[in-house]
Amino acid sequence: MTVWADLVGQDAAIETLSRAARAARAVVDGESVEPGAMTHAWLFTGPPGSGRSVAARAFAAALQCPDGGCGVCAACHTTLGGTHADVRFVVPEGLSISVSEMRALVLRAASSPTQGRWQVLLVEDADRLTEAAGNALLKAVEEPPARTVFLLCTPSTHPDDISVTIRSRCRVVTLRQPPAEAVAEVLVRRDGIPPNVATWAASAAQGHVGRARHLARDPQAQSRREAVLAVPRRLTGVGACFDAANALIEAAESEAAASTSAVDAKEKAALETALGAGGTGKGAAGAARGTKGQITDLERRQKTRATRSQRDALDRALVDLAGFYRDALVSSVGAPVAPVHADVAGQSAAAARRWSPESTLRRLEAVLECRAAIDANVKPRIAVEAMMLALWRG
């Protein structure tokens, strides 16, 4: 069992990365390697759920492991667990990565590795770098210290996702959307999910490994998906469109609240304790004075995290919805590909018979436009309402 085991269906990428890891080991051992065998900056791209961060993490482990990624030694364990001293993870919880955060990280990345191998800076969601933060990172990527490796993950190499100046200094590893069978196989093997559920979840999740596992295990996620897939049938008039939009937004809000509120409360309690809340006796009130700002600060950070998690939840729902219209389009043009939502294939086929292919395509585009609009900061409610109305009219 190597570090690559969790990287599903990405044989070409694994081949590239393990060759680089071998070269990296040679560098550490002081042997000479061909120029370009190991590179100091990597860009992992691929569709959501293809395992960008999994690949980056595995590669980091392979760099730290004396055996090039055995998956069992302490270096592998600590890296994969996120506790290795020389691997720094940047996992943005908010909507963006700020320049001040990035400057601090770049400074850390410039130090020598404490365990004599590589200093790794891993940025998940590098597409969330602000322009200024990207420039701060660029300086480091341009003139890297000898033993520092930058691993960046973005959906694509499009300039909207990562600036061209950074991209041109990175080696790109492109991950493909893993085939549903491969995802199902890993669900069965790793998570012990029954094969029939695994196959269904893998197909419904459209190659997104994490989402497939979530779908297979969480009955609430299943019922949310069913509610989303019922939307096309429920759009019977203008009023129904607004009701559907409302239901979708509220589902996203409650899903986000469920995932963040527990963490929020815990964080706040921890901070208040650290600031001396609940203290009694002389001087306790004085010590607590002036700490309100720090709590407000935390609440602000939590709010951006909640916003992000709401938008992510909404985005997942929209992807499901887009899958339905995609299936309808596939069925109406008779393309020989498998449907995304196999369990409601009957409904999408029925819809395809009622709609012209043009109007199905317009509906599919409305869903994608809604995703883009939410990305462009349009109020989610307004964007979703406009989309529902467009879906109703076709």
């Binding site: 203008v238 009023g239 129904a240 607004f242 609009a373 406009a386 109305l389």
Partner: protein, 334 residues
């Protein structure tokens, strides 16, 4: 609860309960009430010494000194403004004083009401202070009444229409309205009608996105554009205007699709206030479902445009106004 009276004060000046509390957060009216009380006190005692303080800046020691009788006699008027900001020990001192006030001192405490400093306002009330409440003016009708009575007070005459015109031009701030009234009365013969107001005041002070949306939804393009220009001119941010347009379209669409029925019934079903439903029912005439789809599309595009999607946010809003009106006109002919 009596205390020994100083012999040299026995039988001195008369207002035996001279603690006043002016309660309410309409600043101009509160200031006037305080001014009236001060004037009354000085009418009774022309030599009275007037001292004014912000309650928040006062410490209990100072207060005790000011409330204690003067060695040389003589009346004193003490005005404490912003009583809600008073510190705890000051409040305690004031309440102790209010239970046995000194005859020579007229104490006037101004307090905005509300939860802050409630101990002081409640304490003074129960200690028997004379309370003057200044009402909060929030409804348009009350504001119109304020303007007409203000003009009358200054010796002029103004009808409701003139008052409404003045409010539209000057805004809702009472102090500004009051000074506009006195200016108008001083500049004219005192007979103020709509023409007089429009001769001296041009423009609109209070325009929100909702005015823009309301006009656009009934197809009044010129009215909507005028409101939009004014709103941008007085500094309303484009984002709430865009939101208001979307909200207007949404409200009309939901009310129109709720079918016929009483406004109260629909309001209950949709979770909206009845007045909003009534207005939307009026606006909904002339809208077809297809037109509403187009209008909502335009509103969503406008929302993206004002949030960085467009170079010129004002132009994006104007386009949205045109698009909404055109959708209504064309009935959603795409």
């Amino acid at each position: 609860m009596s205390r020994p009276r100083h012999p040299w004060h026995d039988g001195a000046m008369a207002d035996r309960n001279a603690v006043h509390l002016v309660l309410g957060d309409e600043e101009l009216l509160a200031a006037r009430a305080v001014g009236d009380l001060v004037a009354a006190a000085r009418a009774a005692e022309p030599d009275a010494e007037l001292r004014q303080y912000m309650a928040g800046e006062l410490v209990a020691g100072e207060l005790a000194e000011m409330l204690s009788p003067s060695l040389f006699g003589g009346a004193r008027v003490l005005v404490l403004r912003s009583g809600q900001d008073a510190k705890k020990d000051v409040i305690a001192a004031l309440l102790a004083y209010a239970k046995s006030p000194d005859d020579d001192v007229t104490l006037i405490v101004q307090h905005v009401g509300g939860a802050k400093g409630k101990a002081l306002s409640d304490g003074l009330k129960s200690a028997g202070a004379k309370v003057a409440t200044v009402p909060k003016i929030s409804r348009p009708r009350e504001r119109v009444d304020f303007v007409t009575s203000e003009v009358r007070r200054l010796g002029g005459k103004a009808g409701d229409a003139a008052a409404e015109a003045l409010i539209a031009a000057v805004g809702n701030d009472l102090r500004e309205l009051a000074s506009a009234c006195s200016q108008l009365v001083a500049d004219t013969d005192g007979n103020i009608d709509v023409r007089t107001v429009s001769r001296y005041y041009k423009g609109r002070a209070e325009v929100s996105g909702f005015n823009v949306a309301d006009a656009a939804l009934v197809g009044d393009v010129s009215g909507a554009l005028e409101a939009l220009r004014w709103a941008l001119h007085i500094g309303v941010d484009p984002v709430p205007i865009a939101d208001a347009i979307a909200d207007g379209v949404r409200t009309v669409a939901r009310v129109a699709s709720a079918g016929r029925g009483s406004a109260y019934q629909i309001a209950g079903n949709l979770g909206m206030p009845p007045w909003k439903v009534e207005r939307a029912q009026r606006q909904a005439r002339g809208w077809t479902p297809d037109a509403l789809v187009d209008a909502m599309q335009a509103a969503a595009e406008c929302n993206a445009a004002v949030k960085g999607g467009s170079d010129d946010r004002a132009y994006a809003l104007e386009r949205a106004v045109f698009a909404v009106a055109a959708a209504r006109q064309g009935g959603g002919a795409r």
